[in-house]
Each structure stands twice: as structure tokens, then as C-alpha cells.
Symmetry: C3
Subunit: 431 residues, 3 copies
């Protein structure tokens, strides 16, 4: 099936509900950068798309980094004098600082408070904290909970393990006509946080499902990795493959109700940067195109100077710019089926630009060809203008995206026009 | 005579009246893309400038096109029951759809109406319609006329012929010092329409008359062609000459009272584009510089990708943007002598830029030369600044137009300064 | 001592007062483009920095110019009928047109007036006039003085000499690690005018004093020359050295209370142009960056097409844009210690950019290095962002100034970050 047919048929609302339902399944699990929560997430993905799981042993050197010990957690709580769980991991996995070392001690409130984290400005939300590379432990709780804790002795238990194991990541390769690849990367290391990062996982999964149904020019590679260490691990094991990456996107925060934000690759004028801008522009919806900065998600690694891959980051509200970010407020209500569905559509449209962005040569480059006798010339409207522009710039040096940018005509209109011209043997694509 | 002397002497108002008078002579004739109306027009031009006429037989292949049969018309009318001519070609040649096949039939109003064209929004004007490449016939009339037609039987006659003959075009070559050519092209295929295209014909004719009186650096080639098929025909027969075209302009709509519009060549930064912008900018009159689009006049053909010539289109009000366009409202009153004269002046100024746009090298490039002892240094005004700029950028890589753009000093001022510096052997032009 | 230490320690107010005091010493002397006033000025400079004096004989050809005869003046006056000096060189050396030939005559007011200059719009100020290359004489006086002169006979004396001698200039070379040079040029030919040009002399002198105390990457060359003829003379005698000039500044008008003006080099995007813009931008003070024009001070010569050196002009209020310019109003009150001190600081900051503007390569270019285990990663603030940007753009093709411009982080912050990264062997500079 051609991609444009798929796009025409897609029921984005139904697909959005399905993605939201998948997110609901994944939401309660306690993910981290290693461990069974991460693995369980990939097992759920694997029921939808045939990703391959990779296990990399703790202690493995990956460029400047070392795979840490694997972290797993069964239970955690703070009990008061009466033996009541006043903070309980079973209620919310954000309560435990991710990667906390095990602890089982009694202590005064004063001592305990050195290990407690809350956000005074957002008194109802539990913050999200991690301690991946520093051995420590802690609890997170709402500021209201924190300030209500009476003096007294507390029993503090974190039933976690931190020992040699593996870092896990998932990978799916969809071969296309070309060896050149489009990379789609999502980080999957966040526990009960819906927009960042469950929305990325469910949209990437669904995107892969859709792409499997269509004829692809590019090959596609999907990565489900823990943030930072995961992309670094993949890059360190796949330097050759990285040279084949022609375009790529890091996906996250795709379920909130905000407008889209596209963060450009380090190159700033890569084809993916222009394809994303093209789609967002003609959506006529509010959106932002922002320049690359070396802070954010895994584009930091893909765009490090040793790789400098043409990979941008596609989001709705960017990290740090919505109040729910990295708190328990980023829950399943914050993420909306419509937004997820719309995000998928935009991604398919961006891919449609990449897939259809051929360069053309006119087979009648001298003077205009006579469109009238081929039934292609009528009242001057967007279709005729799209044909005239395509013919005029079909000199082998302009891609269809170049033509779209110069003519101010949407890529999709030009694609239709180019297709008609190709049928009439007026233009040909070049390799 | 140097061009600047000619410009200084030119009485643009008198010249404008002469051009308007020439347009008045040509106005009544029924031109088309072939036929005697077109020939007669060239015969009138030939009385002013020695153009050469070319006749290309019907059926000749010109790139993707074929020269059509030649069309001629003697008479046409619609008679009512009483034998009165209610629509009469003798009143206005726009009444017949141009290239109509012959017809001599009686028919009801209902049947006739399928062949009638009017403009409801402009009820007093007759529209201009053509059917060059589709065998059909029709009449054009004002909407007021159309709605006043009573039911009844009508006698419809178009006394035209459509049979093998020739496509005609005119060409004038003015040799200059260089083989490089400046092309001036006007389409001459419109019947009684004054701004589009008689203004182009009369201004081009007068421009050629003026250029014949002066010493030229470039060679100049004037083309009087039917639109589209004419420029395609010329290109197909002159591919080698086309490679010598260094600059060019398509002229049309040069008699209306609107401000100037310059439409850039496909290249967008050709010297002709910058020369036109330079002249219009320093005219300090309202004007527009618009980007190339592959729709318009014969620049579409000259700027097709197989040629991509540096040819723009010089107009006052552009096609489709004045209400009289392609209606009987585009008559001799709409076209004004002052506007025609002013158009000629601007064209001569543009040519003055092209002719004078040398690159210079300083013969004293190290430090400033001492202008004072040569009597060139006085109070700092535009003349001294023009000399300092010319000396400073006389490094062989800047043309005088480059210097004008960078210094924000008019080209004509710099030309005078450069001339003084050349007299003092402080700068030299390079080839 | 590193430059940043010097900058941190500098008491700009004390230094400003010292520079003002030096200007006060130089103010009364009658300088010209040749002669003892100029020499005396260099003798005063030599007490502070070890400049070398060069004497070039009158009649020497320097490119298109010839060194003129040397001019010296002892006394000049206009005496009235009563033998009173109504205009007296001893009161103000601007009273004599600089380079006046000797005169000793009696004449009527009518004849005398042909030799008198005043500024009616600024009736209290004496104008500054010169006649270097035309043998003439004249007096300048306030318009109030001029209009008060009664009819009568006047005795006019200019006790000057104009005979073969020398043009004098001073030069100081401070060797650095590299042969590449930074040129600092000041003109010293103006008599009692404080902002133009004493401020340039005292700031350049102090700048040289400071630079002698620090470790320099570039070599520095200071020129104290008469305007125009001086820089042309130096260039004509030092063509080889000129090829080593990597950056440069002409200094003048650095003592007035106006905001800074940086006039770019002819190149427009030279490193010095960007360094000056960087410093002024982050000063967050009002300032102007203006494009090169071939009029102004000695940058005209350094930027002539045969040299095209990357030399800009650093000023506060530019010539001609303050009312005191080239009048007796440009006196020691107009020039302020604070402004002089601030000018010196900005110059040192610009030099700090040039000195520190290395290109870096990451020694861990694949993925980010793990900053956390090196104690470099904390809350995301400007320091961490500066490190991330430096690492990301450390690909050998970006200088620190490139990084500053792209990241929108001040150069000084990036320099600190780069220094930390270099200590940790995460980046290295390249030659």
C-alpha cells in the first residue's frame, strides 16, 4: 500500500485511543535504565511489532561510559510509629528515587528528611528523581505529604537490588528499497510518567506497525532505549550502521495537548529539518521550530560531533516547558488520545515527504511542454501551478522539497503534480 | 552618441505621444498567433526599424509543439430575426473568439448561448478569449448585450479560414562591440488590446530606434513574436544564439498608469535582475520587484530549465492585476503617453547600467592615491565618496553594480566617478 | 600574568585618571603631520613604552604620495593698529592653519579676512584647519572674535618654516608566541584636540603598557603615525610585515562620554569584527556596529584593495558626529577619565577574545563524555550549557567565537568552560 493511501484511510482518533490504551497498560510499571521494568515494557511492545531484544552486560565499556549494575526493586515504604506505610512504593513508583540502593533502617524524621524530595511550588505532585551514577537512596513525595509528617521514628525500607546484570534495548529493522536508513529513537526508561516517555513508546510502536504495511523506499530502524546510556550503547555497537542513517527523529512528549515543537538537528538544514518544517507549516496549526541545543534527549548523542547525524527531535510541549514535566502530574489524564493520533499523522506526513522527495529531470526541458494536448492544462489553479513549477525546476538539482520551499506550494500538491507529469513521461526521477 | 547623452536629451513626453500614436494605428487590427493581422503589425514596425520577417510553415515541430494552421478572418456577426447584426466583428474584433473555426448556421438562442462569453462582474466590457489548440468557435460580448438578447432564431456567421500557412515573427539584430547579446522580446498576438500587448510593441520599437543611434557594448536582439508558440519557435531555431544571451527582458503592459513591476529571472540574482532593481530603487517611485514564477509571459519559455536564460519581465501593472486586463477596457484611453515615455526612459536607464557595468582594478591599490594633487578631492560629498568607494573596491572582483549596491550610491553617480578616475589613470576596466 | 587576571585586577578608574593626566601633558603642544610637535609627543610616549622612532626624509616616495617638507612653527599672531595681539598662537595653537607658510605682512581687514576661518554656527569655538598639500596660510578664530574685529590695518605674522626634513613615526613591537600580529594604530598629528586624537594616543600607550605585563599568543605592533601619510608611509616600508597582520584596530575618539562605535573592516566578517561585536554585545551598553566605508581614519589605508587588512576602527563617538569635533571644544574637559578607562577595558576584552579564540577538538567525540564522574555535571546552568556547547562543537571547525555566536553564551563563559574541559583532557586546542 502506498503511504498516501494509508494516510487517507487512517482513523486518527481510533488509532489515538488504541495508543492511549497501550500507554495505560505500561503506565504502572517501574521502568529504569536497566532492569525488569524496562524488559517488561519491551515484552509488551514485542506483542505488537517484532523488535529484537539486546542485552549488554554490566561493566561493558561504551565510549566514555560503562554499563552500570542492573537495578531491580520489589517494594519500598516509610512506616511511621504505628506501623502505617505513610509513603508507599505500591501507591506510586515515583515515590522511590530511581536506582536507590537498598535500605532497611529506623531513623528520626530529621535524618529521614535528608533523603526526602518534594516540590514546594507544586504541593500535590510527586517529583521524579534518579541517582543512576551515584550510590544513594531517597524518597519522593508531595510537598503536602512531606509537611504533614509528624516527628517520630520511621522505618525506612527500599527492597531493591543493584548488581551485575544487563542493559536492555529493543531494535526493529524494516528493510526498504534502499540501504539508507531512517532512525526513529525513543527512550523508555521513565517509570510512571505518561507524556515523557510513554507517549513516545506508543507512538513509535504504532508508527512501526503502520510502516510495516506500506512499500518503503528507505529502510527504517526503530530503537527503544534507556535515555543517554542507551543511545550511547547502540552507537558504540553500530558505528557502521550509523553511517547509513540518512534521516532520523527522536520522539517524546507526543501526547499532551500543546502544539508541536520540532527541534532541528545540529546541522540545522538537514532534509529531516526541512521535511518537519514543511509538514508543520502547512498544518497551519500553531507550532515551533527551534534550533539545536546540546541539551535535551538522545539527539544529544546522535548529534555529538563524532556522529553529527541528521536527527531532530519531534515533540509537542518540550521538556521543562509544561508544569507536569517530571512529576506525578504527567499521568494518563495529561496524555490525550486525540493528541497521540495527531502526532502519528504528522509523523507519517513527515515520512511521506522523505519518501517522496525525489529530484526530477524534465524530459522536455526546452520551453514548456504542451500540457493542453495531454489534458493537463486548465484554469490556472494550484494543480497547474504545481505542474509548471515542477517542470520549471526539474533540472536534476532541485528536489521536490526544494520546489515546495521555493514555490510556496504544499509538498503533497507537488507530489500529485509530479506523479501526473511522470505518467505523461514529461519528467523522470533521478537517483 | 553615448547612451547618457541620449538619456539627457530625450523628451520623454514627446516620445510617449509618438508611441501612443503608433499604438493607435495598430489598435484596430485583428492579430492572432498567426495570420495577416500579425503580418500587418510587423509591416508597420518595419517602417520604423529594419526587422527581418521569418515565416515558419504550419506543421513544423518546435520542441514539444507543432506550428498550427494559419488563421485568418474577414467578417463575423450574429444576426437576429430582423437581419440586424446584434453582434458585429466590424465593431470590435474581440467579439470573435480568436482562432474560431468558420461557421454559417441558424440556431436558437439556447444553442447559441453555449458559444457566448461575457463577464457578469464587468457588464460593459467584452472579454478576450482564444481557442488556438482546440477546434471551436464562439463570440464574446458585454454582459449587458448578452442579457438583452431576446429569444428567437439567430444567424451566426464566422467567415474565417484555418488552413496550412505560416507562423510569422520579426527579428532585429543590432551588433555591438561584443558578441554577448541583450534580448528584448515582445509578444504581438493580441488583437485590440492596448496595454497587453500594444504597449510592448511600441516601446520595443522605439527602444530599438534609440539604440540604433548610440555606441553599444553589447549586441541587442529584438523579437516580435506570438506568445508562447513564438518564443518556443525562436528558441528551437536559435539554440546556439541563445547561449550568447547575457541579459534579457520580456516587455509588456508598459502603458498603464500603475507603478513598475519587475519580475526577476528564474536565476533570481542575474545581473539584469540587479540592474532593474537598481534603476527602480533610485527612481524613488513606488514599484515592486517580484520573484520568478513559471507563469506569465514568454519569460516562461526563456527561463525553462533547458535554457534558464537571465531574462526578466518588465511591466507596469502585471497581467491579471488591473481590471481592464484581457477585456475591451484595455483600450487606447487606458494607455497613456506619459507612461509609455517613462517606460522607455527606465529601459534606457537599465541598459545604461548593463552597458556601464564594468569591473575595475585600481592602478594604485596600495593606500589611497592622492586625489588632492589631481584636483579630485574637495568637500566630502557624494562625488568624492563615489570615487573613494570605486577606488576601494577596484580589486577586479567588484563590478560597478556591486559597488553601487554596497555603497548605497546610485549607479549613475559611480559611473561618473569611475570615468574621472579612469581619465586620471587611477583605475582601469578589466575584460 | 594571564590577560584575564590582569582584567580582573585592573582599576579602570585609576588607570583612566592616569591616561587623562598624560593627555593633559600632551594637550598644549602644536602637533602636525611632521615636525617637532609630533616628535615631542613621541618622546613623551617613549617614557612609558619603548617605541622606536623612524625618520623618513622629505621627498621620499611612498606609493602614490611624497613625504612633504617638514613644518615647524615658533610663533604667530595678528596685531591691531595698537600693536595688540588680537589673535595669538600662544593662546591656542588651533589659531594657525596647520602647515601655514611663513608670512610677515601688514594688510587691511578686507584682505586679511580672506585668510580667516570661523564657524558661525558654533560662535565660541575655534575651528581646526590644515593646508598640508597646498601652500597657503590662514588663521582660525571663534566667530565671536572674527565679527568683533574692527576695520584697520593688521600686522600678520606666522613664524613657521617649511623645508626639507623628515616625517616621524613611532613603532613598538611586542613579540608573542606566534609571528601573526595584531596591529594597533593611532594617528598623532592633531594639535590641541583632546578626543581626536589625544585619547587614542594615551589609550594605545596604556594598552601597550598592560600587554607588556602578560603572556601573549599573538605578537602586537603599535604604530604612532601622522594620519593618512603616516600609515601610507609605514605600509610602503613594511609590505612583508603587513602580510603577517591577522587582526588590527585603529583607535581614536576614545575619551568622550558617548557609547562605543565599532566600524568594521572592509572584509566585514573578519575575526576582529566579530570579536569587537561580541564584547560590545555582552557589555549590554548602548553601542553601534557600523559597516566599513572608505572614509574615516587610517583604516582607509589599511583596508585599501592592495592590502585589504582585517582592521576595524574602535571609537566612542565617531568623527563628525559630536559637535566639538575638530574645534577647540574638543578639549580636556570633553575627555573624561571614566571613558578612557572604560575604553581600555573594552580593548583588553577584545584582545582577550582574540587571544583565547582557539578551535577545539573533542577527545571523546562519539556521544557525550560522562561529565558526572568528573564532577563537571550539576544543575543545568550557564556553566554546564557552556561545556555541552563546547563539547558539541569541538569538531575542529568551530572556534570559541563561533561557539559563542551560535550558543548565545558569552565568550568569557565559554572560555572558562573550555578551560575546565581541557584540564580534564576532554578537549584539545588545534593549531
Amino acid at each position: 500500500m502506498p503511504l498516501e493511501t494509508l494516510l487517507a484511510k487512517l482513523d486518527s482518533f481510533a488509532v489515538g485511543r488504541e495508543m492511549h490504551s497501550f500507554a495505560s497498560l505500561l503506565y504502572p510499571w517501574c521502568r529504569s535504565i536497566t532492569g525488569d521494568g524496562f524488559r517488561d515494557t519491551l515484552y509488551a511492545v514485542i506483542k505488537r511489532i517484532p523488535i529484537e531484544l539486546h542485552e549488554v552486560p554490566s561493566g561493558t565499556q561504551v565510549f566514555d561510559w560503562t554499563i552500570p549494575d542492573e537495578w531491580n526493586i520489589r517494594d519500598a515504604f516509610i512506616k511511621n510509629d504505628h506501623g502505617e506505610r505513610v509513603v508507599d512504593f505500591r501507591n506510586h513508583n515515583l515515590h522511590v528515587v530511581n536506582y536507590s540502593v537498598p535500605v532497611d533502617r529506623r531513623m528520626s524524621l530529621a535524618e529521614l528528611r535528608l533523603h526526602l524530595h518534594s516540590i514546594p511550588e507544586k504541593p500535590d505532585w510527586i517529583p521524579y528523581r534518579t541517582t543512576y551514577y551515584k550510590k544513594a537512596w531517597g524518597f519522593c513525595l508531595s510537598h503536602r505529604q512531606l509537611t504533614a509528617l509528624p516527628n517520630g521514628e520511621y522505618h525506612v525500607v527500599i527492597d531493591s537490588t543493584l548488581k551485575p546484570g544487563h542493559l536492555t534495548y529493543g531494535e526493529l529493522f524494516l528493510p526498504g528499497q534502499m540501504e539508507d536508513e531512517v532512525l526513529i529513537s525513543v527512550h523508555c526508561c521513565h517509570p510512571s510518567l505518561a507524556n515523557d516517555n510513554l507517549s513516545g513508546i506508543v507512538v513509535a510502536t504504532r508508527l512501526a506497525q503502520e510502516l510495516r504495511r506500506i512499500d518503503l523506499r528507505y529502510s527504517y530502524r526503530f530503537l527503544f532505549v534507556p535515555g543517554t546510556i542507551g543511545s550511547i550503547t547502540w552507537l558504540s555497537r553500530n558505528e557502521k550502521i550509523a553511517t547509513r542513517i540518512a534521516h532520523g527523529l527522536v520522539l517524546t512528549c507526543l501526547g499532551d495537548p500543546g502544539g508541536f515543537t520540532y527541534k532541528k538537528s545540529r546541522r540545522g538544514d538537514a532534509e529531516i529539518d526541512r521535511a518537519a518544517a514543511q509538514v508543520l507549516r502547512w498544518s497551519k496549526e500553531p507550532h515551533r521550530i527551534v534550533d539545536f541545543v546540546p541539551y535535551g534527549y538522545d539527539e544529544r548523542q546522535y548529534c555529538s560531533p563524532g556522529f553529527n547525524l541528521p536527527i531532530g527531535c519531534f515533540m509537542r510541549s518540550p521538556h521543562g516547558e509544561f508544569p507536569e514535566y517530571h512529576t506525578s502530574g504527567d499521568d494518563l489524564d495529561f496524555v490525550q488520545p486525540e493528541a497521540l493520533g495527531d502526532s502519528l499523522v504528522k509523523l507519517l506526513q513527515i515520512i511521506d515527504v522523505l519518501e517522496g522527495n525525489y529530484r526530477y529531470v524534465s524530459l522536455n526541458p526546452k520551453g514548456e511542454p504542451q500540457l493542453g494536448r495531454r489534458g493537463l492544462y486548465g484554469a490556472i489553479g494550484e494543480q497547474v501551478m504545481a505542474m509548471l513549477w515542477t517542470l520549471n525546476l526539474a533540472d536534476g538539482s532541485h528536489s521536490l522539497l526544494d520546489i515546495a520551499e521555493r514555490s510556496n506550494i504544499p509538498f503533497s500538491t507537488l507530489k500529485t503534480a509530479a506523479s501526473k507529469l511522470r505518467e505523461q513521461q514529461l519528467v523522470a526521477t533521478i537517483a
